[in-house]
C-alpha cells in the first residue's frame, strides 16, 4: 500500500480544516480527489507532501511517516502543483538538472527520460529558456516533465488539466497509465469530472473537510442509487443533499 492517510485532523492555523480524513491509495492505482472549492483538497495535499503537520492522525508512504525519516519520505513523492511554480533564475535545462540532483537520479538515465518527455510535450527546443516566462500551459508541462523524471512511487497531482491543450491532456493521461503499470500510485485532485470518471480507478469525495464517500464508480452508484449514472450526477446530488441539511 503506497499512501495511507489515517484519521488526519489538520489545517493551517488552530482551526482544523480536515476532520478525521481517512483514505488510501494502493500500488498502481489512480485515485481522484474530488470536492468543491474549499472542501479541503489542497489542505489534504499539503499535509501529504509535508508542508503541514497533522494535529492528529498520521500519513504513511510505503510505511514511512515524515517524522520517522524525512528524506526517505520525501524521496517517494513527485508533486505537480495546481499553479506552476518555477525558479525565476533557472533555465528549463537547469530545472531538470535541479530535480536530478535533488532526487539523486542517475544523470544519463534521467536525461534519456527527460528528452523523451520534452519531445512529447514539444519543449525540446526550449531547453535554454527561462520557463518562468512561458505560458501557463507550457509551465504546467515543465512541472509534469520534472515530476515524471523522478521515478517516485507516489505522484500527487493537483488539478492538472486547466491550461493544458487537449493533446497534452492525453499525453499526461498516458504517462499516468505508464507509471501505474510500473506500480506507482497517483493521487489526483480535479474538477474535470468527466475525465476523472473515465480514468480514475477510485474516488474520494471530500466535503467540508470530511470524506463523504469513497470507492469505485459502481460502488458510488450503489451508495447513492437515486443520484444518477455519471460521476457528475452523483457528485451534484451529494453536494445538493448536503446543502439542504
Amino acid at each position: 500500500m503506497t499512501l495511507q492517510v489515517t484519521k488526519v485532523v489538520g489545517g493551517y492555523s488552530q482551526i482544523p480544516v480536515l476532520k478525521e480524513v481517512t483514505f488510501d491509495v494502493q500500488d498502481g492505482e489512480l485515485v481522484g480527489l474530488i470536492g468543491l472549492n474549499g472542501a479541503g483538497k489542497s489542505t489534504t495535499i499539503n499535509h501529504i507532501i509535508g508542508l503541514l503537520t497533522p494535529f492528529k492522525g498520521e500519513i504513511k508512504i510505503n510505511g514511512v511517516t515524515l517524522n520517522e525519516d524525512k528524506n526517505a519520505y520525501k524521496k517517494q513523492i513527485a508533486y505537480i502543483p495546481e499553479t506552476p511554480i518555477l525558479y525565476q533564475e533557472l533555465t528549463l535545462k537547469e530545472h531538470l538538472e535541479m530535480t536530478m540532483m535533488a532526487y539523486s537520479l542517475d544523470h544519463d538515465k534521467a536525461w534519456k527520460k527527460a528528452n523523451h518527455l520534452l519531445n512529447i510535450f514539444r519543449l525540446d527546443n526550449k531547453l535554454d529558456w527561462f520557463p518562468a516566462n512561458f505560458s501557463k500551459g507550457m509551465k504546467q508541462k515543465v512541472m509534469i516533465v520534472c515530476a515524471f523524471i523522478t521515478e517516485a512511487p507516489l505522484f500527487i497531482i493537483d488539478e492538472p488539466f486547466l491550461g493544458l491543450d487537449p493533446l497534452a491532456v492525453h499525453d499526461l493521461l498516458n504517462l499516468i497509465d505508464e507509471q501505474k503499470a510500473k506500480g506507482a500510485s497517483v493521487l489526483m485532485s480535479t474538477h474535470v469530472l468527466d475525465t476523472a470518471e473515465k480514468y480514475c480507478d477510485r474516488f474520494v469525495l471530500l466535503h467540508d473537510g470530511t470524506v463523504k464517500t469513497e470507492g469505485t464508480l459502481p460502488e458510488l452508484r450503489k451508495a447513492l442509487p437515486d443520484a444518477g449514472e455519471s460521476l457528475d450526477d452523483i457528485y451534484m446530488s451529494m453536494t445538493r443533499a448536503d446543502q439542504h441539511e
Binding site: N71, I85, Q88, Y103
Partner: protein
C-alpha cells in the same frame, strides 16, 4: 478619481517612510554619511583651486543641469489591476493624472532647486553671473522640468505622433539646446525658450484630450519607476517587493559551470545561479563592492583603510545572508529529499566565494591607494580572519536564530 489618487498617495508615502526609516536606522548610512561628507569636503577644497573663465566650466554646468533635469519621475501610482478595474472610469483619467502631476511636480521642484543649490558655488567661482541671471537659469530649469511632465502625460495616451513619442528627443536633445542657449548665450533666451517649450507641450497635451488612455504603457512605466525606487532602497535594506526578472547573463556561464552536477551540490547549483542572474542580490553585492572600492581608493593611512575594508566586507556579508531564504516560497525546496545541513553547507560555500572575491578586490585597492606592503599585509590578515569568522561562526548563528 481625485480621491483615489489621494488615497494611493497616502499609502505610498507611508510605504516610502517605512523604508526611509529603515535606511536611516541601518549602519550602512554611517558609511554613506562619511562618503557624502568626504565628497562635500572635496568639493569645497576643489572650488578653492578653481579660477574664473575655465574652458570646461560651462560644459560642466550644462551637463550637470541636464542630468539633474532627469531626476524626479512622474508618479502615477498605477497598479497592475487598474487595467481591469479602472477601465470603465477612463473618462476620469485626466482628473487622476492632475493629482499625480501635482505631487510629482512639486517633488521635482525640490530636486531641481537642490541641484541648483549644489551647483551654485561652482557657477559663482567660475562664471560670475548676476543673481538675476542665476534666477533666470533656475526658472528655465523648472520650466524644462514642467515640459517633461507634459510629455510624460502625452506618452501615457495612445498618441500616434512619432515625434512626440520619441522621448529621448524631448528628454535630452531639446533641453540640451535650451540650456546651451541659456548658459552660453543669454540666460533670458534660455528662460524664454523653456517657457515656449512648456506652453507648447501643454497645448499639445490638450490636443490629445480625447485620445484613448494607454493602460499598458502607463502601468509598465509606473512599475519601472517603483522598481527603481525599490532598487534604491534595496541598497540599504531588504525589499521584499523587489522581484525583478532574471537576466540570462550567458557570459558568466563559465563561472557557474565550476559547480559540478552532483546531489550534494543541489543547493549550491541553485544559489549560484540565483545570485548571478537575479537583479537584486547581484546588484546589491556589486554596488557595495564598487562603492567600497571607490572609497578605499580615496582613503590613505594605516588603520583607516583596513577598518573601512573590514566594515564594507561585513556589510556585504551581512546583506547577503537573507539570500539563504530566497527560494523558500518555491514549494519544491521543501519537498526535496535533502537535509538542511547540506543546504547550509552550500550557502556557506557561496558566501565564502563572494566575500572572498570582494576581499581580494579591496586588498588590491588598499595596495594601489597606499603603495605600502605593510598596510596591505594588515588588511589581508584582517580580511581573512573576518571572512572565516563570518562564514564559519556568524552565518550559522544567524540561520539558527531565524528558526
Amino acid at each position: 478619481m481625485n480621491n483615489l489618487y489621494r488615497q494611493r498617495l497616502s499609502s505610498h508615502l507611508k510605504e516610502m517612510f517605512k523604508y526611509l526609516r529603515l535606511v536611516f536606522n541601518d549602519h550602512f548610512v554611517f558609511a554613506l554619511l562619511i562618503f557624502i561628507g568626504g565628497l562635500g569636503y572635496a568639493y569645497s577644497n576643489g572650488l578653492k583651486e578653481l579660477q574664473p573663465n575655465l574652458w570646461w566650466a560651462k560644459p560642466v554646468i550644462v551637463i550637470v543641469l541636464l542630468l539633474v533635469l532627469q531626476i524626479g519621475r512622474f508618479a502615477t501610482l498605477y497598479q497592475d489591476a487598474d487595467v481591469v478595474f479602472l477601465l470603465p472610469k477612463e473618462a476620469e483619467v485626466r482628473q487622476y493624472l492632475k493629482g499625480a502631476r501635482a505631487y510629482s511636480e512639486s517633488l521635482a521642484v525640490v530636486y531641481e532647486l537642490f541641484g541648483m543649490f549644489v551647483l551654485l558655488p561652482f557657477i559663482q567661482v567660475t562664471d560670475a553671473m548676476s543673481v538675476f541671471d542665476l534666477a533666470l537659469i533656475a526658472v528655465a530649469q523648472l520650466l524644462l522640468k514642467d515640459s517633461l511632465f507634459s510629455l510624460a502625460i502625452i506618452r501615457r495616451f495612445q498618441v500616434k505622433s512619432v515625434w512626440l513619442k520619441a522621448s529621448s528627443w524631448f528628454k535630452w536633445v531639446v533641453p540640451l539646446v535650451i540650456l546651451l542657449a541659456g548658459v552660453y548665450g543669454m540666460p533670458i533666451i534660455g528662460a524664454v525658450l523653456a517657457l515656449a517649450l512648456s506652453i507648447g507641450l501643454r497645448v499639445a497635451d490638450r490636443r490629445y484630450d480625447a485620445a484613448p488612455f494607454d493602460w499598458w504603457q502607463a502601468i509598465t512605466l509606473e512599475n519601472n519607476r517603483m522598481m527603481g525606487v525599490y532598487r534604491f532602497f534595496n541598497l540599504f535594506t531588504n525589499v521584499p517587493m523587489l522581484k525583478g526578472a532574471a537576466k540570462r547573463r550567458r557570459y558568466l556561464d563559465w563561472l557557474l559551470n565550476i559547480v559540478k552536477i552532483a546531489p550534494k551540490n543541489t543547493y549550491l547549483y541553485l544559489y549560484s545561479r540565483g545570485i548571478v542572474r537575479s537583479g537584486e542580490f547581484s546588484g546589491l553585492y556589486s554596488r557595495l563592492t564598487i562603492l567600497g572600492m571607490i572609497l578605499l581608493y580615496f582613503v590613505r593611512g594605516t588603520w583607516l583603510p583596513v577598518a573601512l575594508a573590514a566594515l564594507f566586507l561585513y556589510l556585504i556579508g551581512f546583506q547577503l545572508i537573507p539570500f539563504y531564504w530566497q527560494f523558500d516560497d518555491i514549494v519544491f525546496t521543501h519537498l526535496y529529499p535533502i537535509g538542511e545541513k547540506q543546504r547550509v553547507n552550500s550557502f556557506r560555500r557561496l558566501m565564502f566565494s563572494l566575500t572572498g572575491i570582494t576581499a581580494v578586490l579591496f586588498l588590491i585597492m588598499v595596495f594601489v591607494a597606499n603603495q605600502n606592503w605593510q598596510v596591505a599585509l594588515i588588511a589581508l590578515v584582517v580580511e581573512l580572519v573576518e571572512v572565516v569568522l563570518m562564514v564559519q561562526y556568524y552565518l550559522p548563528l544567524r540561520l539558527r536564530k531565524k528558526k
